[in-house]
Symmetry: C2
Subunit: 196 residues, 2 copies
Amino acid sequence: MAGGEITVSNFKPELVTLDLKTYVMQPFRRGKQIKLSDLKEYFSDPEAADQILSEGKNPIIYEYYEYATPEAEGHLTFGVTTIYLGKVGKEYYMTRGHYHDKDAAEIYIGLSGRGLLLMQTKEGEAVYLDLKPGGIGYVPPGWGHRTINTSGEKLVFFFIYPSDAGHDYELVKERGFAKIVIEENGVPKVVDNPRF
Amino acid sequence: MAGGEITVSNFKPELVTLDLKTYVMQPFRRGKQIKLSDLKEYFSDPEAADQILSEGKNPIIYEYYEYATPEAEGHLTFGVTTIYLGKVGKEYYMTRGHYHDKDAAEIYIGLSGRGLLLMQTKEGEAVYLDLKPGGIGYVPPGWGHRTINTSGEKLVFFFIYPSDAGHDYELVKERGFAKIVIEENGVPKVVDNPRF
C-alpha cells in the first residue's frame, strides 16, 4: 500500500499508472481479496458453497485495489476490480454488491472479459447492462449495484465513485438482489431471485 | 446528442460505449469543438495566433464529448477529450483550463498520445504530471487544471468529475497558468509563464 495517513489538507496530485496489459494499478492505497467464505451467504445456493468449502477450498471470488482519497465531499476514489472465473452451483462469481449511504453515483468501465452490471432501486426496479471492454455503466445515485462475471475469463473493470459515498452492504445481505445470474444450458441467464 | 431534458428523478441506468480503437463515445449528451479563435488570448503568443487566423485558418484545438448527468450532488459526468496536434508559436495546443466552482476533484485517464496535466492551486503552487495511455492523473479539489498535447499525434483522454462541480474559466482568463509548455530544440519544456 502506498502513502500514509491521507487528509484533505495534505492531499497532493500524484500520478497513478494502470498497466493496460495486466490491469495492475500502482500506487494504490487500499485493496482487498474477497473469498468464498466471506461471501457464501450471498449466493443463492449456500449448500453448493458449503460443499466447495468442505473440500478444503476457499477460492478468491473477486479482488479490488483502489486509490482511496479523503472521505470528504468533492473527492473521488477510483480503482480496479477483478472477478475471477467460476460458479457456485449454477450462479456465476459476483461481487457482494452494495448501495451507497449517500445519494452518490458510480461509474464502471469494462477493461477485460464480459459480465453484467445489475442495478436496482430500493423500491425493487431492476435493470442490467452488459459489461465488456469499453462498455461504461452509469449507476445513478440511489441504485444498488452488483457485477457478475459471465465470461470464460477474468472480468476486469475500472470504477469511480465519490469518496464520501459510504457503502451499505446490510441491505444486500438482508434482501439480496431481485435478479440472479445463472448458467443454463451453457449460457448466462438472468432470472428472478427466489429468495428476494 | 442523445436524450432530452434530464432531471434527477427520471435518470435511469444506460449503457455507454467507448470504442477502444476510435475513442468515440456513444451516446453523449453534450459536445463542443474549441477553435483557435475561441482560445487565442489563452496562448502566450497571441500574435502567433493572429498570424494563423489572418491566413484564413481557424483550426480546432480540442474537442470534448461528455455524458452529462443532472448537475446535482452525487452525480458524476464523464467523457472524452481530444487535443489536436499543433503549436501556436512555440506553445503546444492545450485546453483552456479551469478551476471548479466547488471544491471538486477531477480524474484524467490517458487513452492515446502523450501530454501533460498541469495543475495549480489559487495560491500558485504548480505541479505537472505525464499523461499517457494508462496514466491516471488525480486533480484534487481546489486545483486548477489544464492539459497539453506534447506528442506528435492526437492526445485523447477520459475524464470524470462531480456533475455539480461547476466550471470557473474566468480565473484562468485573467491570470493564466504559472507554467506554459513550449517546444524548445524539438522537445517539450515546461517554463515559467512570463505573463503570470
